[in-house]
Every structure is written in C-alpha cells, then in structure tokens.
C-alpha cells in the first residue's frame, strides 16, 4: 500500500531491512565510504583502550547505521513522492561482526507548514538481542501536489 500523508497516524511504523554485519561488510563500507579508520580494520589497534572504553575488537562504522536508516526512509518515501529531508542520529552501543541490525521508524507527528507537509519520525536501530544500537529523528516532506 502506498503511503499517503492524510492516512498516516502517530504510532505507525516503518520496517527497515535486516543487515548482517561481518568483517567483510565492514571492509566493504570502508571502500564505499573511504573511511579507513583503524577502529574498523585493525584488531591489534582495537586491543587498546579509548579513554575508559575497550571495544575488544573492530567495530562497525557508526555511519553504517546512518546509511541503513537512510535506506529505510528513502525506500518508504520514494513511492509516495515524498522527500527525505533530515536525519539526526546518536550511537548507543557499538556494533560488531556477527551482529544483525535492523532499523525501524515510528511516526511521531505530522505538521503542515505554509508551503508544505512534514512527517516527523523517531528512528532506532536494534541488534539481534533487541538492544538499541542507534537512535534518532527524521523528517520527511510530503510536498503539496502542484
């Protein structure tokens, strides 16, 4: 069913895709993003502590969450003729090889402005243990048809 601004309600959900995280997926994200920070590549380096944190091995790029949330939002918006306008995210828990993560969106509110219509969405990414790894908010514009 195509999404429609009028029929959307607070509490409606947007289901995102499962994403299996592996050393290979992290390496591919390095190549795709050109972010070769050793946090994502170098097990020896990751034996070090960062302040009070020790990750115990390489971790997925936080921005991989961001890219996955974006994928969920645009796949939802494009068929409705809507436009993904804003995404804010925070990382809650590191993601490691072997994890499977999945984003979800929950419609928070709708807002009509002078010239357009907007949907505000709470987003979160959970891992296979139902733990939150990232949270955020998004804004999708549903332009008024000309």
């Amino acid at each position: 069913m195509t999404t429609n601004f009028e029929t959307l309600n607070a509490g409606d959900t947007i289901d995102g895709p499962d994403f299996a995280v592996s050393r290979e997926s992290i390496r591919l994200f390095c190549d795709g993003s050109l972010d070769y920070n050793p946090l994502h590549l170098d097990d020896d380096y990751m034996k070090n502590s960062f302040g009070k944190t020790n990750f115990g091995g390489i971790i997925m790029h936080g921005m991989n969450n961001f890219g996955l949330i974006t994928r969920m939002l645009t796949d939802w918006a494009y068929p409705a003729g809507a436009i993904h306008r804003r995404l804010e995210t925070r990382w809650v828990k590191p993601v490691k090889p072997g994890d499977t993560i999945r984003p979800v969106g929950i419609i928070k509110a709708k807002q009509v402005t002078q010239k357009s219509r907007w949907v505000l969405i709470d987003v979160l990414v959970k891992n296979q243990n139902d733990e939150k790894v990232a949270t955020g908010e998004a804004m999708v514009e549903f332009p008024i048809a000309a």
Binding site: L28, L34, P38, G67, R90
Partner: protein, 158 residues
C-alpha cells in the same frame, strides 16, 4: 577498489601532521578538495549499505522518474566527507570516534557532479574527560546549489 585509487587508505600516514584537539580552532575553515562523483563511486557506496533502489542503478528507470536521471542516495555525504578532504585532515585521525550527526537534504547529488565542501569546526568542549569537536559541513554541486548540510560531533583521540 576503483574508488580508492589515488586515495591514501593508510590513515596512520600523515597522522603526525594532523591537528590535535588543542590545535583545532573553531571557526577556521578546513582545507577541502573538489571531487568528481562518479556512478561507480555512488554504486559502490550503495552496495556497502545494501541500497538497491533503481534510482541509483537503472538509468532508464531514473530518467522516467521525477528525478529525470540517476541520483545518489542522501547519505552519500558519508563518502563525500572523505573524498572532499585531504590526507592531513583531522577527520582521518586514527581513533576519531563519531558521537552523532544531523544532516539536512536539499537536492540530490548526481553522477558527474563536481562536489565541493565548506567545512569548519564550530565548537569544542570537554565532557567527562573526553575531548569533543563539533563540526559543520555544507556540500555543493558545480552549480553552487546546496546538496546537503550537516553537523557532527567527534570524540578526539587523547
């Protein structure tokens, strides 16, 4: 990988010439580089997050869509941040931890665009013994149109 050709993937190289937290001055523009965004670079990025929408891959579909041609996904700024900055930029400093991001999107980037970046540290602070920098970034296409603008926070290595 084609995209990484000419790109220094060893982030330890030049690590000693990059600015540390103490040297980063909020307000001072960062050095940036224009970058020719190719279809191949967009599609490699797409594959790394499982993006398979035909707007990014299928020329005929994209042409018939309201976008009238192939586009990049909004999150392409993840790639642009590294492709539009030089090797001595402090975003590459090993151990830089991303602490959160917010981005606003205006128009899509497209294959063949020459992308430019205006960027600076906007603020820096210390919280719970951690060194934070707030950065702001605006990406433009070759016509001077804003593609997207964003603010991020990183925790700097000690």
């Amino acid at each position: 990988m084609m995209q990484a050709q000419g790109f220094e993937t060893d982030f330890w190289k030049d690590a000693n010439v990059r600015k540390v937290w103490d040297e980063i001055i909020p307000g001072v523009p960062r050095k940036t580089l224009p970058y020719l965004l190719t279809k191949e670079a967009i599609q490699l990025y797409c594959r790394s997050v499982g993006e398979d929408h035909p707007l990014y891959f299928d020329e005929a579909y994209a042409k018939a869509s309201p976008y009238k041609g192939l586009i990049a996904p909004p999150s392409i700024h993840i790639l642009l941040m590294f492709s539009c900055t030089p090797t001595d930029d402090w975003m590459r400093t090993p151990g830089t931890v991303n602490a959160g991001q917010s981005w606003s999107y205006n128009i899509p980037a497209r294959p063949g665009d020459t992308i430019t970046l205006q960027a600076r540290a906007l603020d820096k602070f210390i919280k719970r013994e951690r060194l934070f920098v707030v950065h702001d970034n605006v990406f433009f296409n070759q016509h001077g149109d804003v593609i997207c603008s964003g603010r991020g926070q990183t925790i700097r290595p000690m």
